[in-house]
């Protein structure tokens, strides 16, 4: 029998596959029952990921919605292509693929649904448009597999945010497979970063990092007793916490709205009203 070659599990930051700068790993078991070492994201890994995500956010949001949709769709193409190679069930991969297709269709539509032209009683054109918040720290429910990761990541990305996705040690092998799909799906480096390790301890660091704009936690991504601490730290910098149920269904627009900011613009449109001229 042939001796197998085993893959080193790395994290995905800034378009590159990296080990933890701390050199720390956590033990886990692969889908095939082999022992694995999972890169354990450190305080510094998180700081690096946030800095890289911040640097990538503007250009990601600046791409056309059509282009971002095509990148999402490309991810769907890659995922379906790898249905048999992913360390999860085929049904999970196909559900994740469909989720990517679904979100691919939102990038150039969500703005039209959530923005508005406001009929103010002034000679001003007044409109409210949605836009990205910035850098979002996202964590899926540990039981939601690949679909959960895709859901957590794409919902935040589609609004033009850049994302640091935190995946627990037990799902690290799958997170690496997802990262490898991301790496060939034309995502610009840094707009999506995938860290692995102990979620609660990384979240505790994240909420003390002030250059993070929101936390997006799905299902039981973090332990319940951590929520109060998150709330307290968020209050300090008015950071958004978006809590969502597990990923059985894609985020509806009402949730996507929470992953965005709203800006309202008043634009003067009085030209002839003063002069008395009429058409």
């Amino acid at each position: 029998m042939r001796t197998t070659v085993e893959k080193t599990l790395k994290m995905y930051v800034g378009g590159k596959f990296i080990r933890s700068e701390s050199g720390r790993v956590l033990p886990a078991t692969s889908a095939k029952g082999r022992p694995m070492n999972v890169a354990a994201a450190s305080r510094k890994d998180l700081r690096d990921a946030i800095q890289i995500a911040r640097g990538a956010q503007k250009s990601w949001a600046g791409r056309s919605a059509y282009n971002r949709g095509q990148i999402f769709y490309r991810l769907a193409e890659i995922l379906e292509d790898r249905v048999d190679a992913m360390p999860t069930s085929g049904a999970d991969v196909l559900a994740a693929t469909d989720r990517a297709v679904h979100f691919a269709g939102w990038t150039d539509k969500i703005t039209a649904l959530l923005s508005s032209l406001n009929p103010v009683a002034h000679t001003y054109v007044n409109y409210s448009m949605i836009g990205p918040m910035g850098v979002v720290f996202a964590a899926p429910d540990p039981a939601d597999g690949l679909t959960g990761m895709v859901e957590a990541m794409l919902g935040a990305l589609l609004m033009g945010n850049s994302v640091v996705l935190m995946v627990p040690t037990a799902s690290a092998e799958l997170a690496v497979a997802l990262s490898e799909a991301l790496a060939v799906s034309d995502f610009p480096g840094g707009c999506i970063n995938v860290l692995t390790g102990d979620v609660d301890s990384v979240v505790k660091v994240a909420i003390r990092h002030d250059d993070l704009d929101a936390l997006y936690l799905l299902g039981d991504a973090v332990s319940a007793d951590l929520l109060e601490e998150i709330g307290t730290e968020n209050a300090r910098v008015m950071r958004r916490l978006v809590l969502a149920p597990r990923s059985a269904r894609p985020a509806p627009p009402s949730r996507l709205a929470k992953l965005a900011e709203v800006k309202t613009v008043w634009m003067s449109s009085a030209l002839m009203s003063g002069g008395g001229a009429a058409y």
Binding site: A65, V101, A270, L271, A277
Partner: protein, 497 residues
């Protein structure tokens, strides 16, 4: 060394623009296979059809293929196939899966974009620069955009689950043959309707190529059926008793005939008809860019554009200078072989349209217009008209009131914003208009005051699937693109609980 050595003391300084850039031919090379004859695409199969007429390359006069002329019986079969698909697989399919077919089609179009661009240019006469950069990529984007709506219709129409109408009969024009097919098909299919499409008789080739792509992606038979033919075939499609929805793009005259034909039936209709777009340039405009906008507005696609900015309204204080700028820019446009990558203005689509444009040019002269044409050489064969600017015209002149559908720009002046709006709105049409100014309040107020379905501010002829397009009054009704593009293909639902 003196800078004034080239000064022409005898005259105003002029620029030596025409011919300053002598470019060798740069023909697009992409062999396309054109079959000797095309029939129809019914129930997922290509059928031979009966009779026939020729489609030619308007740039050379070369015969490209023979096209079957769809009979009533063939239209019947097509409608029947569409009905069967609507009641069968397509109607029962989930939105996500419907969307996936449209995504597949978008991808195939992207993959075959070069061939489609060459084919479209050969059949239509428009420059490869446009088919390559506009028509084909925009068509792919349209399918991509509407693909994404297929599983999200409930969000677009809160309060009820929207239902498709049934079988749509769609008749499309020759000016953007492939793009118009995409504009018609994508929203119809995304919303769950099935289609019988009738391409224009002078430009059927890319629609038949699209049928091949639809076969390749395993689109269920009958979802899209294509019946070729002339006006009679089109009338058979829209008049068919089992058609639920009529969508037409073309002239106001034919639109009126169709409206009469379907009067009394319960068919829903959308009409995207003619136009006489006003292009307003204020003295505070960014002048060189406004010139560019005017060029895009009227000389894009040889002026065969329903929303063309064919009436230029300039603020009187800058009119003379602006026209000079415009002429200088027009002088560097290249007319000729549409397959050459450097051609800016291609061939007029048909002898008939060439005749129409020439008739309008002589009417313009009779009515006292001053005609200016660029000095660019034109090919000996094929249908070509130099870019033309008509000055000294007034609101009552035929060339100001009627749609010419060619590279002919009529120029008028105004003194105040109110006068500009009044003149711009003095038309039976209302498809599109443009405004140029660096003053935001002026842009907004004038844009809002113009009676048109689309207004571009500091731009012209911009299209995007996310943006609704369509006209008011004699330019038609209904919108294509954006959320509004879904409305015409969905039945009213529910109401507040």
């Amino acid at each position: 060394m003196s800078n004034t050595m080239n000064k022409r003391k005898d005259d105003k300084p002029t620029l030596d623009l025409a011919g300053a850039l002598d470019l060798s031919p740069a023909p697009e090379s992409c062999p396309v296979t054109i079959k000797p004859r095309y029939g129809h695409f019914i129930d997922g199969e290509f059928v031979d059809g009966e009779g026939g007429f020729a489609t030619i390359n308007p740039a050379t006069g070369e015969h490209l293929a023979e096209i079957a002329e769809g009979t009533q019986a063939e239209v019947d079969r097509a409608v029947k196939a569409a009905r069967k698909a609507f009641e069968g697989p397509w109607g029962k399919m989930s939105g996500l899966d419907r969307g996936k077919y449209l995504y597949r089609l978008a991808r195939r179009i992207q993959e075959k974009s070069r061939e489609l661009a060459v084919l479209e240019t050969m059949d239509n006469g428009k420059p490869i620069r446009e088919t390559r950069d506009v028509d084909i990529p925009l068509a792919a984007q349209h399918f991509f955009y509407y693909a994404g709506w297929a599983d999200k219709l409930a969000y677009a129409f809160p309060g009820g689950v929207p239902k498709p109408l049934g079988v749509a009969g769609q008749v499309i024009p020759w000016n953007f043959p492939f793009l118009m097919a995409a504009w018609k098909l994508a929203p119809a299919l995304a919303t769950g309707n099935t289609v019988v499409l009738k391409p224009a008789e002078t430009t059927p080739l890319t629609a038949m190529y699209l049928a091949e792509l639809m076969q390749e992606i395993d689109l269920p038979p009958g979802v899209v059926n294509i019946v070729n033919g002339m006006g009679k075939t089109g009338a058979a499609v829209v008049g068919h008793s089992d058609i639920d929805k009529v969508a037409f793009t073309g002239s106001t005259q034919v639109g009126r005939i169709i409206m009469r034909q379907i009067a009394g039936s319960k068919k829903r209709a959308t009409m995207e008809l003619g136009g006489k777009g006003a292009h307003l340039v204020f003295a505070d405009a960014p002048l060189d860019q406004a010139v560019e906008g005017c060029i895009n507005g009227i000389f894009f696609n040889q002026g065969h554009v329903c929303c063309a900015g064919s009436r230029l309204l300039i603020e009187e204080s800058i009119a003379e200078e602006f026209i000079e700028r415009l002429k200088r820019r027009v002088e560097v446009l290249r007319i000729g072989n549409p397959l050459d990558k450097n051609t800016d203005i291609g061939a007029i689509n048909s002898a008939e349209q060439m005749g129409t444009i020439e008739r309008y040019l002589s009417i313009g002269k009779e009515e006292g217009a001053t005609t200016w044409q660029s000095s660019c050489p034109v090919p000996d064969q094929g249908f070509f008209i130099r870019p033309t600017i008509l000055t000294g015209v007034s609101q009552t002149d035929t060339v100001v009131r009627e749609e010419i559908f060619g590279p002919v720009l009529s120029v008028l002046t105004f003194r105040t914003p109110a006068e500009a709006v009044k003149k711009a709105n003095d038309t039976e049409y209302g498809l599109a208009a443009g405004v140029w100014s660096e003053k935001t309040s002026k842009l907004f107020e004038v844009a809002h005051a113009l009676n048109a379905g689309v207004v571009w501010a500091n731009g012209y002829n911009l299209f995007d699937p996310a943006s609704p397009f369509g006209g008011v009054r004699h330019s038609g009704f209904g919108r294509e693109g954006g959320i509004a593009g879904l409305w015409p293909y969905l039945a009213d639902q529910g109401g507040a609980a």
